[in-house]
């Protein structure tokens, strides 16, 4: 079963085709990576799939249902969640509260109950808090509950976003450069976290520049260049594709590129 299918997606900004006729199909339980040089449209593709941009062309199916044009919140309710390349943290809230917000779609109190603090509300708050703590633990952030989110280090913020997304119990999780700015140890943590997520039955789509991480962890890799699909395949296929190497660093850099991919 395909968790996510996108056919012929295109979007232009002011005449520039940021994504041009891209199709992807992601099977359940996979780690599916999207790579490509800077500006090749990876994040734009994420924004299309998660409903933040409306495609000019093409359609998107989530678990077999057409979801083209649905808003992010509607997609979230169907089990799609994501993190952001340039961090979208609720910086005025504590670490735990950030992740509690991730539970929103599972919370079941009405506005009247909330205003009057009916017994269902404290019960809900407790359930939300417990689930959020569990999500924090999965992302390796246990014990940081009451710190203001804004005071965490960059690598921890990346993991906080993952915990928040996990708290919403997604079926499909889009991770936008989770290892950007992380040192090798932190990158290994991310690797471990992603593997655990997949083990729990969540399909992961990954945009990432750290080639070692991508090659290690991916089941399939989709390569974009200038908004178009260059190729798609297993890590081994992509690694040995000369077109990929060239697109990545140009002819001059291909020597280094070969080394980087190994």
């Amino acid at each position: 079963m395909m968790v996510l299918e996108a056919n012929g997606l295109s979007i232009s900004f002011g005449g520039v085709r940021a994504i041009d006729d891209v199709s992807i199909a992601i099977a359940s339980g996979q780690v599916f990576s999207i790579i490509g040089p800077n500006g090749s449209g990876k994040t734009t593709l994420f924004n299309l799939v998660s409903g933040i941009y409306l495609p000019n062309d093409g359609n998107i199916r989530l678990a077999g249902e057409t979801v083209t044009g649905l808003a992010p919140e509607q997609l979230a309710r169907r089990g799609l969640s994501r993190t952001f390349q340039n961090l979208q943290i609720f910086s005025r809230m504590t670490v735990l509260e950030n992740v509690m917000v991730g539970r929103h779609r599972h919370e079941r109190t009405g506005i009247m109950a909330d205003l009057l603090h009916w017994p269902s509300v404290p019960r809900q708050n407790r359930a939300t808090r417990d689930a959020a703590r569990a999500a924090l633990a999965r992302a390796g952030l246990a014990g940081e509950d009451d710190r203001p989110a804004g005071s965490l280090a960059y690598g921890a913020l990346k993991r906080l976003e993952i915990a928040r997304a996990l708290a919403s119990e997604p079926k499909l999780l889009l991770l936008d450069e989770p290892a950007a700015g992380c040192n090798p140890v932190e990158t290994q943590d991310i690797d471990r976290i992603i593997r655990a997520i997949v083990k729990d039955g969540i399909t992961v789509v990954l945009v990432e520049h750290d080639m070692r991480l991508v090659m290690n962890i991916s089941d399939r890799i989709h390569v974009l260049a200038s908004g178009r699909t260059l190729t798609e395949g297993t890590p081994d296929q992509v690694r040995s594709d000369p077109a990929v190497i060239q697109a990545y660093l140009g002819v001059h850099g291909s020597q280094e590129a070969v080394r980087a991919f190994d």
Binding site: F13, T43, N47, I52, F84, N86, Q88
Partner: protein, 290 residues
């Protein structure tokens, strides 16, 4: 027909003033991304100060010049002492600062001047010119001519001078402008001064027709803003067209529907434009980046 012509002429006259206020908004917005709610106070200061300086037996042109210069100083002070110290603050904070400044200037004006209505003698006498059955005040022509003069001057300045180019560069990308050696702070200073002068001139031109008092600023600021919004915020031609259009719609509403509700028109337009065509008539849509 004569009636329509009458409405058109009065609509264009106030419209020209709205256009000038809208232009002041646009200039500051372009240079600094700030919506200056005190823009209307520049208009008030221009009018009131001319009135009160002229009362001290100063010849009218000199009084007007003094008013324009002092208003320019107020504009500069507004930027230096209120906006600059809060650089990088959120839009809400900056809005509150300019609103605070607007109320402050109003409060000062009612102490320094007074709370009565004032007028100025018209520039070219007060005998109406008969045209197609409509009576047009000479001052209306002065307003239109003055507004046109300012618009052309501003356009020439932006297009033809190095400083004008620096303003454009700053509005396009502040960081890049700074990197190529443009003193962006000076550019914003400058935009406040020019906006203040434009506002003051608008105030001087309209006072013979519409009277002035310490509290005319708020309404004028909002209407100027409606004009800028109608044309597309950040677009100078848009502000001019938007201003004239708003003036006309107001005059038509007052003439054919209800003069009580003519002030409501501007706000209805603000709401409708914001909701239906947020980019305005001449503006461009913005893409949100994530």
């Amino acid at each position: 027909m004569a009636e329509l012509l009458q409405f058109v002429s009065s609509g264009l006259t106030v419209g020209a003033i709205y256009a000038l206020v809208g232009l002041g908004f646009t200039l500051i917005y372009k240079a600094s991304d700030i919506i200056n709610f005190a823009q209307g106070e520049f208009v008030m200061l221009g009018g009131m100060m001319t009135v009160f300086v002229a009362m001290a037996d100063v010849p009218l042109p000199v009084a007007a010049l003094i008013a324009a210069i002092v208003t320019a100083g107020v504009g500069l002070a507004l930027h230096r002492f209120a906006i600059e110290p809060a650089r990088g603050a959120s839009p809400v904070v900056l809005i509150m600062i300019t609103i605070g400044a607007s109320i402050f200037l109003r409060g000062i004006a009612q102490i320094v001047f007074d709370k009565r209505f004032h007028s100025l003698p018209p520039l070219f006498g007060s005998d109406p010119i008969q045209f197609g059955g409509a009576a047009i005040l000479p001052q209306s022509l002065a307003v239109l001519g003055g507004a046109a003069f300012i618009v052309i001057l501003l356009w020439l300045f932006i297009e033809r001078t190095l400083l004008g180019k620096a303003v454009i560069a700053t509005s396009a990308n502040r960081l890049a402008a700074r990197l190529i050696g443009i003193d962006t702070r000076q550019i914003v200073d400058f935009s406040f001064v020019v906006s203040a002068v434009i506002g003051a001139i608008a105030g001087i031109l309209i006072t013979p027709i519409a009277l002035t008092s310490y509290d005319v600023g708020t309404l004028l600021a909002l209407k100027g803003f409606a004009a800028a919004m109608l044309g597309g915020i950040g677009s100078a031609p848009g502000a001019v067209v938007g201003g004239l259009l708003l003036g006309m719609i107001e005059a038509m509403t007052a003439g054919y529907l209800s003069s009580n509700y003519k002030d409501a028109v501007a706000f209805l337009i603000i709401l409708i434009v914001l909701i239906a065509i947020p980019q305005g008539l001449f503006g461009r849509a913005k893409i949100e980046r994530v």
